[in-house]
């Protein structure tokens, strides 16, 4: 009887522990995640413009690594930042929304620089958007 009670208690504590962990589990560590795809910003935008549904099948919700030429850099008040990468279309870019941890690297970026960013692809509106990005080619 005691053994069953003890086993029950252990299970309960384990359950609570797992529940607590799940409840408070951190967002995916993008820096440590191997990208599902690595490609050029121009290719990414081409893919979305050719067939959005197919591109979403491939990239939506995935951590991908994208390289390209910076067209615009902006710093936000809360420490997050944004870089826009050039595509073959004047009106479309790859927009990377970067984590606060990348702020110091982003500050030194300017238009014309080559950069590689890694983040979660959330789809395309005017631009293909990557969220929670980190910079891959830090010196």
């Amino acid at each position: 009887m005691k053994k069953i009670l003890l086993a029950g208690l252990v299970l309960a504590v384990a359950g609570i522990g797992i529940g607590y962990y799940m409840w408070n589990k951190p967002h995916q560590n993008i820096a440590k995640t191997k990208p599902a795809h690595t490609l050029a910003a121009t290719s990414l935008v081409d893919a979305y413009q050719a067939d959005e549904a197919a591109a979403n099948d491939k990239f939506l919700g995935q951590v991908i690594e994208v390289s390209g030429e910076v067209t615009k850099v902006s710093m936000n008040a809360d420490g997050t930042s944004q870089v826009m990468l050039k595509s073959n279309d004047l009106l479309a870019s790859v927009t990377g929304n970067l984590q606060e941890s990348e702020a110091s690297y982003v500050e030194s970026l300017k238009a014309g620089d080559q950069v590689t960013i890694k983040g979660e692809c959330t789809g395309m509106l005017m631009d293909v958007i990557l969220e929670r990005c980190v910079i891959s080619n830090k010196e």
């Binding site: 589990k25 951190p26 929304n97 789809g123 958007i129 969220e131």
Partner: protein
């Protein structure tokens, strides 16, 4: 003399027409902010999306928004996961859109600083379901910069978003959506 007057009249009319159409501007943003808020008995849920695209035509009052569902950020990773996978099915329906117009655009002059109340109506599409909606918003023009804000409520069930009974007390049936857009003039 008659010919010159005709040409002069023609010019005046042409310039007059030009200045009328110069009033019409297209405004645009890629960084609009939409957040939503749900107050349920057990929990408060908040999420924010800072990658909203929006276009406004100040002549016709036509207004459009588009958001990527996966760009909504929650503090809790688990909540964000459930939101995307279970409720919004964002793999299937990656976007939410609004296509409508400002009904009283003729009463609003965005070239003059001030605050203007806007009556907005249109089609809101969430989770693949489109519903006609009407709401009030405010345009604020300060030093020529145009911004728009609105707060409105959405019943989750209207968009076939299914909340399982188990978590019913955690998620409200009515969600309050807040929109805050800083527009830029679209250069043609």
């Amino acid at each position: 003399m008659k010919k010159v007057s005709k040409i002069f009249l023609g010019l005046v009319v042409a310039i007059a027409l030009c200045s009328v159409s110069a009033e019409a501007q297209k405004y645009f943003t890629r960084d609009g902010v939409i957040s939503f808020h749900s107050d349920a008995p057990l929990e408060k849920i908040e999420a924010i999306n800072k990658s909203v695209t929006s276009v406004l035509d100040s002549e016709s009052g036509a207004m459009e928004f588009a958001v990527l569902i996966k760009s909504f950020h929650f503090e809790k990773a688990l909540m964000e996961e459930h939101f995307n996978e279970n409720y919004m099915e964002s793999g299937k329906y990656p976007k939410a859109t609004f296509k409508g117009k400002v009904k009283n655009m003729s009463d609003i002059d965005l070239s003059v600083d001030g605050e203007y109340s806007a009556q907005v109506s249109g089609d809101l599409t969430i989770h693949g379901v489109t519903k006609a909606v009407e709401t009030i918003g405010t345009f604020k023009v300060a030093n020529g910069a145009v911004s728009a804000m609105s707060k409105f409520e959405v019943a989750v069930a209207d968009y076939e978003i299914k909340i399982p009974k188990v978590v019913k007390d955690n998620i409200a049936e009515i969600v309050e959506i807040s929109v805050a857009i800083d527009f830029k003039l679209l250069e043609q």
